[in-house]
Subunit: 243 residues, 2 copies
């Protein structure tokens, strides 16, 4: 009887999470990267980006609820895999690129991961020892591969969605990034507001596509995800709506 | 009735976790640092160390079970606070030092945190932008304060326990660190064995104090913690045992 109650509870929760247009992504394969990447400096130290992975996991949940087949390529996070979603775990940006390149039949790609732009030029195989009297250290970094740019260059090109985490000139940087990387949609969030974003369960974003701009006020990441998946479904399954 | 079963279950678990010498640290104040520290590079990037915090939290649980008053100064981890333990959350090494300096009446200090040795020389208040064509970056780092060394210089000096995570010449580095930092005990683990340590629930360590050396074979971190707390209790509450 307790098991039945648990089933009822999670059944009710799942129903709540359903997108408003169930089946809107039926037959589509949606690939989502989520979480941070970690770039090892040596066996004990690493470089990373703030990211709980919650936004990417919420998008995976929403895409699955909309009927899509979902592949979630995830950096190290403390989240459980959404039901019905195939999850591939990776650590570094290079691993994430390789996992992305191995995916076939991609209809939509959402680059939600906070990929480290740079990684240490070389990883020390042994722990670096502090030298006596050494008070500073220069760490040489090299650029990581740009996963989203790689996907956007493929032919046929999937519908490409990027994120822009900015602390200033949000609209300018977001639109510039969308054009420069040949994206179909970009989701911008102002990470200077520490009440929302990153580790929070809430977020407020502005979504840009073609000549459209839609601001989504502060709300749960799951609710934002459902809205965003709705926009993507509109753009990928029917004739474009009027601007 | 379900609540009673839950209570019974956790009651039984707590009993299992009890140290073999309950009350051995009665009246003592044990301060433990645990987890990693994070050093911000800019609002989206950071430098950190691999550490789940599990070993430090296991030590806090064992010390509390041995009757000590326990203060746990914790970097960002995904663990719940052991019952009866006072937890102080910090992010950076500087925060961890300040929290340590604010603690009074310390009898035992266990520096279990994986404190970042270095932090960025300056934190950029805005997100660093990639420059077109820029393929490398030099990150200037400066040394972080040494929390354990600060504690070991206090008078009266608490019983100071350090950790050494090494990938080579384990015994040599561990003993050298114990002498150089004026520690009373050091716990060395070989982090080159990736099956145990860091994020694992198991560990194998070698404990050094005075002229003693005791190897603890691979076992649960909670079991290692109980053994280590036992050694500390022996050294702090009674006349030293014969070597």
């Amino acid at each position: 009887e307790i098991l039945q109650r648990i089933r009822d509870f999670f059944g009710a929760t799942s129903a709540l999470n359903k997108t408003e247009s169930p089946g809107a992504l039926q037959g589509k394969h949606v690939v989502i990267t989520a979480g941070p990447t970690r770039e090892a400096i040596d066996p004990v130290r690493y470089l990373s980006n703030y990211s709980s992975g919650k936004m990417g996991y919420a998008l995976a949940t929403a895409a699955q609820a909309a009927g899509a087949r979902v592949t979630l390529i995830s950096g190290p996070v403390q989240l459980s895999t959404p039901s019905g979603v195939q999850r591939i775990d990776v650590i570094t940006a290079d691993d994430m690129l390789k996992a992305t390149q191995a995916v076939t039949d991609m209809d939509v790609f959402i680059g939600c991961a906070a990929v480290a732009d740079f990684r240490p030029a070389s990883m020390a195989s042994q722990k670096m020892k502090k030298q006596h009297g050494e008070d500073s250290l220069q760490l040489s970094l090299v650029k990581n591969p740009d996963i989203l740019a790689w996907v956007a260059k493929q032919s046929p090109k999937p519908f490409c969605v990027g994120f822009a985490a900015e602390t200033q000139n949000l609209d300018h940087y977001a639109k510039d990034k969308m054009q420069r990387k040949n994206l179909d949609m970009i989701i911008a969030n102002d990470v200077s507001n520490t009440n929302i974003g990153f580790n929070s369960d809430h977020n407020a974003v502005t979504v840009f596509w073609q000549n459209n701009k839609k601001h989504l006020e502060a709300q749960s990441k799951q609710s934002i995800a459902t809205e965003v998946i709705g926009f993507i479904a509109q753009q990928t399954t029917s004739q474009p709506e009027e601007p």
